[in-house]
Symmetry: C2
Subunit: 258 residues, 2 copies
């Protein structure tokens, strides 16, 4: 069983995940981060030790969770004393076997969600994608994931990479559409509050109906008059105009071929 965890990283995901584990009876032994500021901030929330030196990472943990940006993972692995015990990373697009030259038993613990330090999330609905090179360890990871979430899944590295890509579209790109909406309203002195019920309903509708059949608006109707009037309104923001044309075309094509 996994009881004692060292958290490598203190960013958005590391913060939210370690808090969720802590609240569900898992002991976070230590937090490692590259800066004292972030290591200390998270360690204080968890009431645990912290370090900024890889050499001082605790040796006796049941699990080392690497919750780092993809770029940071490899250099930190290279700096670690070997062997390092049982490890997981939390990344969408990194194959599980990145660990194979560093330790014997390893896996992935990927919570599919968007995390910000300042917004607490309820882990119980977050899908956690598990993968491992070792059957027993995999079972332990599943048990650990089930302590914090009702939605635990065995997902291969190949599937996980695709999930991450799909998440970029449905989360980051969607959020960018919200940003553009906000900028457009600012131009005409209209409160962004007016868009909020629409943002929420669009999401809730996609949870109930198939998003393909739920599509509305000028592009799916191919209403050229509105589309060209919208493009004209975007003359001063050529990037938004290009994006408008391109996404409208993509909507129309997808619906024509459905």
């Amino acid at each position: 069983m996994i009881q004692k965890v060292v958290m490598i990283g203190a960013g958005n995901l590391a913060t939210q995940l370690s808090l969720a584990l802590h609240e569900n009876g898992i002991e976070i032994l230590q937090v490692y981060s590259r800066t004292v500021e972030s290591a200390k901030a998270l360690a204080e929330k968890l009431n645990c030790k912290y370090t900024i030196s890889v050499k001082e990472i605790e040796k006796n943990a049941d699990l080392y969770v690497f919750a780092l940006s993809d770029k940071a993972l490899q250099p930190i692995l290279d700096g670690l004393p070997v062997p390092i015990g049982k490890v997981v990373h939390t990344a969408g697009s990194i194959p599980v076997d990145i660990f194979e030259n560093y330790t014997k038993i390893y896996g992935v613990f990927y919570p599919l969600q968007t995390f910000s330090k300042e917004r607490k999330v309820d882990f119980s609905d977050i899908p956690i994608c598990i993968e491992s090179n070792n059957m027993e360890f995999q079972e332990n990871l599943i048990a650990l994931a089930k302590r914090i979430s009702k939605s635990v899944h065995l997902i291969s590295s190949d599937q996980r990479k695709q999930l991450h890509l799909a998440a970029v579209f449905t989360c980051n790109f969607t959020n960018h559409m919200y940003c553009i909406g906000q900028k457009l309203l600012e131009e005409k002195d209209v409160d962004f509050e007016l868009l909020k019920p629409l943002i929420l309903e669009t999401a809730q509708k996609a949870l109930q109906l198939n998003p393909l059949s739920a599509q509305t608006g000028p592009a799916v109707r191919f209403d050229e008059e509105i589309m060209s009037s919208h493009e004209k309104a975007l003359e001063n923001t050529p990037d938004f105009k290009k994006l408008y044309s391109f996404v409208s075309e993509s909507i129309y094509k997808m619906h024509k071929s459905k």
Copy 2:
């Protein structure tokens, strides 16, 4: 006061709006639609008359609501007996003065939301944008809107057009991102259910935090390694690949300049 309404149109918006008015004590006298099928379907829900002939539209209504696609509005106006009484349309991008050659008192009653026939919406949070050429009628429209919604706003034609454009980005384009996410998961046999908590959280987060500061993912970090691996994964769907590059670039540019 507005008590008796004729609904011109029987599409998604006409259906949801007339049901909301009906449930809040407004009498829908009649439904007009171009096809018997849709006119009858809505009239049955409202327990009222219907017609498919513009000549047979009731003469004694307090208000005629034109809830039609933008393309359909002009030809129907041209076919109507003149004068037609007090009218509103429900469109985002049509100026209020489209009515000026047809009647004396007119306005706009624009509920800013996405509507589907098969999904009932709670009108109470939906922003309703009001505009009129007549002060007394405008007050009556505000009173009517307040019967169904807590969020009633005076919005000019110019602002309303911008709201509609912003809504296309935050609703239709966002929904298209969901569609792409779904298609990507289908390719690797991963259940779309796994994306649903992310879709909901992305929306809820934008209601609480500023979407610009809430942005996460590879583009805002400018993580070239992940972005190029994602683009490679999209080789077989060149449209999605182009969209990926383009939106990523737009995210990066917006955040660099914030």
